[in-house]
């Protein structure tokens, strides 16, 4: 009796998982079709010399893995994304909540931020190179700034748009200021904060790759630039596909986290 019910449960969950996998497969079929087409055209040998077929790229990635260049450069790039993104978004959330909740901070700092927001942060990169040299630091600061702004702006908007009614009812129940913050304001603005994080993450990847293209000693962007100098298209596409895979992977991870956090919202954007 008992084993039967667990059996049925496991069958049900397997069916459920199969359905999900099937749906994902159907949904991503255009992407898969495009990759297959690329491979077929590549095998037929009608691609221009500067576009290698997927299987050549994969085998080149294996060569790079064996040489150790793949891990070294990917890690350099990812490290910058992590440090810049986590630092920038942490500051963005904290400052956004402060300026959104507190009129004096809002009046003082928001003008500065909205004034500097449209400045392309990557233009500051040459200055940071002058200050910190071509190392880790100059790039980390640019990525930090690039990730900070969208997260700040979205957090500020979210906090500002918290319905007064929710705050009043919490106050009515004698909630402390801290409780209002952690149990009303932040959950209320969470959807906005997460959108900001998603924009910030995408920007962090753009800026990391750009900074590495401009001036760097290693990293995926630097590999792409070297590849251009030596006309090594396998290397170029290896670095492009690595940054693409990292970008998509981290974005999907963020979306999964958002689904978990916002299960109550029931939105199905992806």
């Amino acid at each position: 009796m008992k084993t039967e019910s667990t059996n049925r449960q496991s069958i049900n969950s397997a069916v459920e998982a199969g359905k999900v996998a099937y749906r994902i497969l159907i949904r991503s079929s255009p992407v898969i079709a495009l990759l297959l087409l690329w491979q077929v055209v590549g095998l037929a040998g009608i691609l221009p010399e500067y576009v290698p077929a997927p299987h050549t790229i994969v085998s080149y990635l294996l060569v790079m893995w064996n040489e150790g260049t793949l891990v070294k450069n990917s890690w350099a790039t990812l490290q910058l994304v992590y440090v810049g993104f986590f630092g920038g978004s942490a500051l963005g959330i904290v400052l956004g909540v402060l300026t959104g909740r507190n009129a004096i901070f809002g009046r003082l700092f928001d003008p500065l931020v909205s004034m500097t927001y449209p400045i392309p942060k990557i233009a500051l990169f040459p200055i940071f190179v002058i200050w910190f040299g071509i190392g880790f630091m100059s790039k980390a600061v640019v990525v930090f700034l690039a990730a900070f702004y969208p997260v700040y702006i979205h957090t500020f908007d979210g906090v500002r748009n918290t319905p007064e009614l929710h705050i009043w009812s919490a106050q009515n129940f004698n909630a402390s200021r801290l409780q209002i913050l952690t149990e009303v304001v932040i959950p209320d603005s969470l959807p906005q904060i997460l959108s900001g994080l998603r924009v910030g993450l995408a920007l962090a990847f753009i800026v990391v790759f750009s900074a590495e293209l401009i001036q760097s000693d290693f990293g995926l962007g630097q590999l792409a630039l070297q590849a251009r100098q030596f006309n090594n298209y396998e290397l170029m596409f290896s670095s492009i596909s690595m940054i693409a895979i990292f970008g998509v992977f981290h974005d999907r991870l963020l979306l999964l986290i958002r689904q978990r956090l916002l299960y109550w919202q029931g939105g199905d954007h992806s």
Binding site: R27, A123, I130, L203, I206, L213, I214, G221, F237
Partner: protein, 275 residues
């Protein structure tokens, strides 16, 4: 207890004052930034070479020279503006119709939506070295990268916009015998305009970022080129002047778009696209 409550009372009074005051305290922070810059310039000294932080007035003088006395920077400003303008306009011309098409035709949505959402987190700027190989060093590779980077926010804005149109409005339009074209022109398009505009507003800074990056990497003119040239020859005040110029462009574009929104979409509340 009493001190903390007195403290919070004082804080809330300060907050009320800040909420209502007409003193231009907004400018304090911007002025503060300049003060910090100047102080940094005075305090940070380099043991050799030019000062790491040029003083505010030196940079201002350099800007004045570039813009007025010698007037040498205009071709570079025009080159940058030209690239932003052409790449961005191309993205508008392609992105809005395709986004609307995606939102109104299920088959197109099925094909394009996965492609776009896969491409969204990929830094398209990664294709720049490849485009340099294919298209050479001129305007063309830059325009293509600016186009593909600003395309996707615009496209997604239009797509979400069409999706957000209330079915009820479309049905009532159809009920009054409106043709498909009229439903589109009088209902779908106006209702999705705020979203389209949000996408455009999101794409504008990206277009400028990408323009500067392409100029910093490989170029022979443009503000980015001026900056990286000056950095290579240790003329740090020119680097700072170039950064101020590009910042001014970014702020101007942003203000122009905000104005345009007030003019076109005065009836619509601010919508943010849920990315």
């Amino acid at each position: 207890m009493s001190t903390s409550s007195r403290g919070s009372a004082w804080l809330s009074r300060l907050n009320d004052w800040a909420e209502q005051t007409t003193y231009p305290i907004s400018y304090l922070s911007i002025f503060g930034l300049l003060v910090v810059w100047e102080l940094g310039a005075l305090l940070v000294s380099s043991s050799y070479g030019p000062p790491l932080i040029p003083r505010v007035e030196v940079v201002a003088m350099e800007l004045y020279t570039m813009l007025v006395i010698e007037g040498t920077v205009y071709p570079d400003i025009f080159a940058t503006l030209f690239r932003v303008f052409v790449g961005f306009t191309a993205a508008l011309v392609v992105g809005i119709p395709v986004g609307i098409w995606m939102g109104s035709d299920k088959r197109v949505e099925f094909v394009l939506d996965p492609l776009i959402s896969t491409l969204y987190p990929v830094p398209r700027i990664a294709f720049y070295p490849l485009l340099l190989v294919i298209l050479g060093l001129g305007h063309a590779p830059k325009l293509v990268v600016i186009f593909i980077e600003s395309l996707i926010p615009i496209l997604l804005g239009s797509y979400y916009g069409v999706q957000s149109v209330s079915k009820l409005h479309i049905w009532s339009g159809e009920n009054f015998g409106a043709s498909r074209f009229r439903v589109f022109r009088d209902i779908v398009l106006p209702a999705s305009l705020p979203y389209i505009f949000s996408g455009v507003r999101m794409a504008m800074p990206i277009a400028l970022i990408v323009t500067v990056v392409t100029e910093l990497v490989a170029s022979s003119e443009g503000i980015g080129y001026v900056i990286i040239q000056a950095q290579g020859s240790f003329e740090y005040e020119t680097v700072f002047a170039g950064v101020v110029l590009i910042s001014a462009l970014g702020i101007t574009f942003d203000k122009l778009l905000a104005r345009l929104r007030e003019y076109l979409l005065f009836w619509a509340g601010d919508v943010s696209i849920d990315m």
